[in-house]
């Protein structure tokens, strides 16, 4: 059968494709491009913070840099990356389908995403935005002199791409599963993409309307969040976080799904507690909608609301911890190969656990008063989003790379890169926990002398991390052209995607597969 890569090589055959695999590749290039932009901003910020005085950029530029970094990384990299790249490519294969339910909508979502991205880039090129990625009013609506409207419009547009992807995946999982593939036979990666899609569909519209209200206020000077006219700036924060907290779970749940696949495959064991794993994914998605108030503990929210939000936030740690324990239990007495994907998965488990536990610290009302808006928060969410999601993404990328490219990557170099990324990450962000605990506020480009040493360590770590991220970019590109052929199933993995050729054929399967057993059916050791 013709592989999807060989099905046509003209520009048109890519830009007008309806094939979920090609659309995944389009997304791969797009999000990698945005990642590089966001990473450049991060490099400049860490460079500035190498010395206590502000001597590389002005404070205005620094504000624009962290806004650019936040906006690009959250909306144009972390939120789309696993669903649109790995999800698009693997989901239909993993459920034995020929494509997603609405291929045209899938392609449209990419065009919408690119349009939103171009608007955001326009805002950046013409001077940037200095509101932070959260666009808090009244600063964003009244006082900021930057390109808030264009940037917000870009995010608004990109939101529709998210919604389209979510609708597509929900319908695909409901309606296009292969015969015999019942709900509790689905791979956990599919469960996680499904749960993520539900969040995308239900949370994104709230962000959309919030941004519309903010833009109306900025454009027409009307008072929806303006205290002069009776509006309440805190309402903006409530609406914003009603999206943006669940968005954190859009950024982590697919990672959890990927890690479940990697752990079972390289321990050669069935996942421990499959049903509990599936249910905990759904309950994290559900609870994620009820915790947004923990971002407003010190913003004049009522203390009773704070208590409830604090308790609900603690509850998220229960299903999260179940997942961590079950991954470890899966590894226990497994026949483990420390292949690159598993190294990333282990990195994920370690970093996610640290990120999760510090999240519990932040969800504690009294502790949050001290830690709010310090580097402790920055370190916490980078442990989840970068230590968690980016590790899982890279692990999944290596795991499914043979299916995507038909080739193997250089194993030793890849293992080295995984270790470098893990070390570089910890070196960058662990000092920030201490800095935050000692009271260094986030979003400033100068700091007192006593924070110097830890900031130097953090910047050195960022350099190591940067090298770590560039390595896969280089050797995966090399492998795409020169790597050894992989064959249909190089890992001897279960899962329908491994039962077809590599790279995946244009129409996925010769015949629709029929599923007769549970997932991860590895032979007993």
């Amino acid at each position: 059968m013709t592989s999807y890569l060989a099905a046509g090589s003209s520009v048109r055959s890519w830009l007008c494709t309806l094939d979920h695999k090609r659309i995944a590749v389009l997304y791969l290039f797009t999000v990698t491009f945005f990642f590089l932009i966001g990473a450049t901003a991060a490099v400049l910020m860490r460079w500035e913070l190498l010395t206590p005085a502000g001597n590389l950029v002005t404070s205005d530029t620094y504000n624009r840099l962290f806004t650019l970094h936040g906006v690009i990384m959250v909306w144009f990299f972390l939120i789309p990356v696993v669903p649109t790249v790995l999800g698009n490519f693997i989901l239909p294969l993993a459920i034995g389908a020929r494509d997603v339910a609405f291929p045209r909508l899938n392609l449209a979502s990419w065009y919408i995403f690119v349009s939103g991205g171009l608007l955001a880039l326009y805002a950046i090129v013409f001077g940037g935005v200095d509101t932070g990625w959260t666009f808090y009013t009244p600063y964003s609506s009244t006082y900021s002199n930057s390109h808030v409207m264009v940037m917000a419009a870009g995010i608004f547009v990109a939101g529709f791409a998210s919604i389209a992807t979510g609708i597509n995946f929900i319908v695909t999982v409901h309606k296009l599963r292969a015969p015999g593939l019942t709900w509790f036979r689905l791979p956990l990666f599919v469960w996680s993409i499904y749960a993520t899609s539900i969040i995308m569909v239900l949370a994104t519209p709230v962000l959309a309307i919030t941004l519309v209200l903010m833009m109306l206020e900025r454009g027409f000077g009307v008072g929806i969040f303006d205290p002069h006219l009776g509006g309440d700036p805190l309402l903006f924060q409530h609406l914003f976080w009603f999206y943006s907290h669940p968005a954190v779970y859009i950024m982590i749940l697919p990672g959890m799904g990927v890690v479940s696949e990697l752990v079972t495959c390289f321990a050669r064991k069935r996942i421990f507690g499959y049903k509990v794993m599936a249910v905990s994914i759904l309950s994290i998605a559900g609870l994620g909608f009820l915790v947004w108030g923990h971002h407003m503990f010190v913003s004049s929210q009522s203390v009773y609301a704070g208590l409830v939000f604090s308790l609900l936030s603690f509850m998220v740690s229960v299903p999260s911890a179940i997942k961590v324990f079950n991954w470890i239990a899966t590894l226990h007495r497994g026949s483990i190969t420390f292949a690159t994907p598993l190294l990333y998965a282990l990195g994920f488990i370690a970093l996610f656990t640290i990120g999760g536990l510090t999240g519990v610290c932040l969800a504690t009302l009294a502790v949050d008063v001290h830690l709010h808006d310090t580097y402790f928060v920055v370190a916490h969410f980078h442990y989840i989003m970068v230590g968690g999601m980016v590790m899982a993404y890279l692990g999944g990328m290596h795991y499914w790379w043979p299916k995507i490219s038909g080739r193997l990557y250089p194993e030793r170099l890849a293992r080295a890169a995984a270790v470098i990324i893990f070390l570089g990450f910890n070196l960058t962000f662990f000092p920030q926990f201490i800095l935050g605990y000692l009271g260094m506020p986030r979003r400033f480009h100068t700091y007192p002398q006593e924070f110097h040493t830890l900031n130097v360590i953090s910047t050195c770590g960022a350099a190591v991390l940067g090298v770590g991220y560039l390595l896969p970019l280089v050797y995966l590109t090399w492998s795409f052209f020169r790597g050894p052929r992989a064959g249909p199933n190089p890992w001897n993995a279960t899962g329908l995607e491994w039962q077809t050729d590599s790279p995946a054929p244009e129409h996925n399967f010769r015949e629709t597969p029929v599923v007769t057993g549970p997932p991860y059916d590895y032979p007993p050791l």
Binding site: P205, I224, G230
Partner: protein, 208 residues
Amino acid sequence: MAATTPFRSATQRESANQLGLWTLIATEVLFFGGLFTAYVVYRFTYPAAFAAGSHRLEFWYGTINTAVLLTSSLCMAVGDVMIKHDRRRALQLCLLATALLGLLFLGIKFSEYYHMYREQLVPGINYRAEGPPQMQLFILLYFIMTGLHALHMLIGLGALTWLGWLNHRGRFSSTGHQPVVMVGLYWHFIDCVWVFLYPLLYLIPHLT
């Protein structure tokens, strides 16, 4: 590119389309949900200003519009029954009636906007009303909520035109008319949103 269908049967395709539309409606509910939240928060904070604002709206415009829109939904529902009995011409008449009533709704709505513009009641453009300052919040929410609703009506009218075209080409029958069901669902959803908007915006002073 030649489209290869991901579906194994027409039934599977139809049930997927149906679920897709319901998921879209779920998104829409949350989209309006943000506005309803803002409304509820401010209504409880400034009940008197909201009542005063509601007094400035044109009660009869809103009431007549409610009747117009509910009737258009009825026509849509009747059209759905007609095509189930293979009555294509009757469906065409129903679609026409639905669309005309929808247009009438928008006409009344825009003349109401114009009326308010004449009375200098448009926030951000010419708002100069006497009364409590928070009244502007109410009027603003009125414009955003009904404006967004009107935008959805326009999309619905586009979809109705498309249905009329397909029906004119003889594409529907008692066994194959899913687009009619789907556009109908969407139209009824827009109708439902109005059913909530009408009392929240027009009936407040009549309740207190």
